[in-house]
Subunit: 224 residues, 2 copies
């Protein structure tokens, strides 16, 4: 791809992302963009969070996928407003897709919005959506070397969630080595270890979500 | 991205892919493009194949990554010619990158060439490289629903390798359901079940690699 074309696309995207951000701030919606490889557990972490926080915060979800509505249907069963974006081939969400989705969500009733990006460790990092936080999930079976091969997303993340820690005994994942590598390229990122199967570590994660929201002083006004 | 821009890029790519193909046919090199999500086991499958076939076929490897030379170093230890491509941000290999790599590999001494694509279930499908076969690896922990969410690569694959079957007891992966879904969108694809950890199923896979090569009548001329 011509570098100029890419720059134009990113610059146009950033402008719409700023519009999204203004709308979300105005509506007092705290927004988390969740990114990972396919199958690392984005939907599972969102579902776990919904179950844990549903009595504390009103939530909404935007589901991004190339095709299918499998994930949106799972979220719908939790009785949370959800909107599916099918990118039809694009390997990441762009701000304009989120903009259209926001028009169709009941933002006045949502305090915490999750945007589940397309499963991809590369391109989603380049496209701002208007989010408050970027969260990256890495699952144990993917291996601890992913931080060296796909550094951009690890560098940008506000939090990194290691999922499927119940599979640690069956793999060679080096938690300590990974933690050191992460500190090397991103000193601010919080690191969580969870299993969406055994529910281990979920509370640490949801505590961080809540405290991040509170720092933006939005929770109290949204939920009585 | 403008659709016209994408079309131009793909058309330019296809022309270079045809050049690669002509060169590889001329040099009698059978070429397999290996694609998967990050961490599904592309390098592991290549290493297993090298160990199994090293007395039967002369091999070479092109490693594609955003950054790092971790995988190329692993292949080098097997004493096989290897070339690392760092895409520097691009989420897939393009024919022009492979073209440059081919110039720097001893093609006269290679009968079987693996091209390990960037870990991504989306974009690599759109870019032909000049390969004889496209192989897609899906690892058990990613889940059996990936075929619905990322259908293009499953549709294009000549073979689908389910890796990490040693983790089947710890996940909800539905092998039968996946096999049916695959038949639904791709009737020609061969399906393999392997574990690069326990070595289960590797021989079925390498048998297919050898018989695919033999059908191209290249093996016999390359290895005495």
């Amino acid at each position: 791809m011509e570098i100029k074309v890419l720059k134009d696309i990113l610059s146009a995207n950033d402008q719409i992302a700023q519009k999204n951000r203004a709308l979300l701030e105005n509506k007092q919606v705290f927004t988390i963009n969740i990114m990972s490889s396919p199958g690392a557990g984005k939907t599972s972490l969102i579902l776990e969070t919904i179950r844990k926080l549903k009595n504390k915060v009103s939530m909404g979800v935007i589901e991004g996928d190339i095709s299918s509505t499998i994930d949106a249907e799972k979220v719908k069963r939790e009785k949370v407003p959800v909107l599916q974006i099918n990118t039809g081939g694009e390997c990441h969400l762009e701000a304009v897709m989120v903009n259209r989705a926001l028009d169709n969500l009941p933002l006045d009733d949502i305090g915490l919005l999750f945007i589940e990006n397309v499963g991809n460790l590369v391109c989603p990092g380049e496209f701002k959506l208007g989010e408050d936080r970027k969260v990256l999930i890495l699952s144990v079976p993917e291996g601890d070397d992913k931080i060296y091969k796909y550094p951009l997303l690890f560098h940008l993340a506000d939090a990194v969630v290691i999922n499927k820690i119940d599979l640690l005994p069956y793999t060679k994942f080096d938690l300590e080595g990974f933690s050191l590598a992460l500190k090397g390229i991103n000193q601010k990122a919080r690191l969580f270890q969870v299993s969406c199967t055994t529910h281990e570590g979920i509370e640490d994660w949801t505590d961080w979500v809540l405290s991040s929201m509170q720092r933006r002083k939005r929770t109290s006004r949204k939920k009585s």
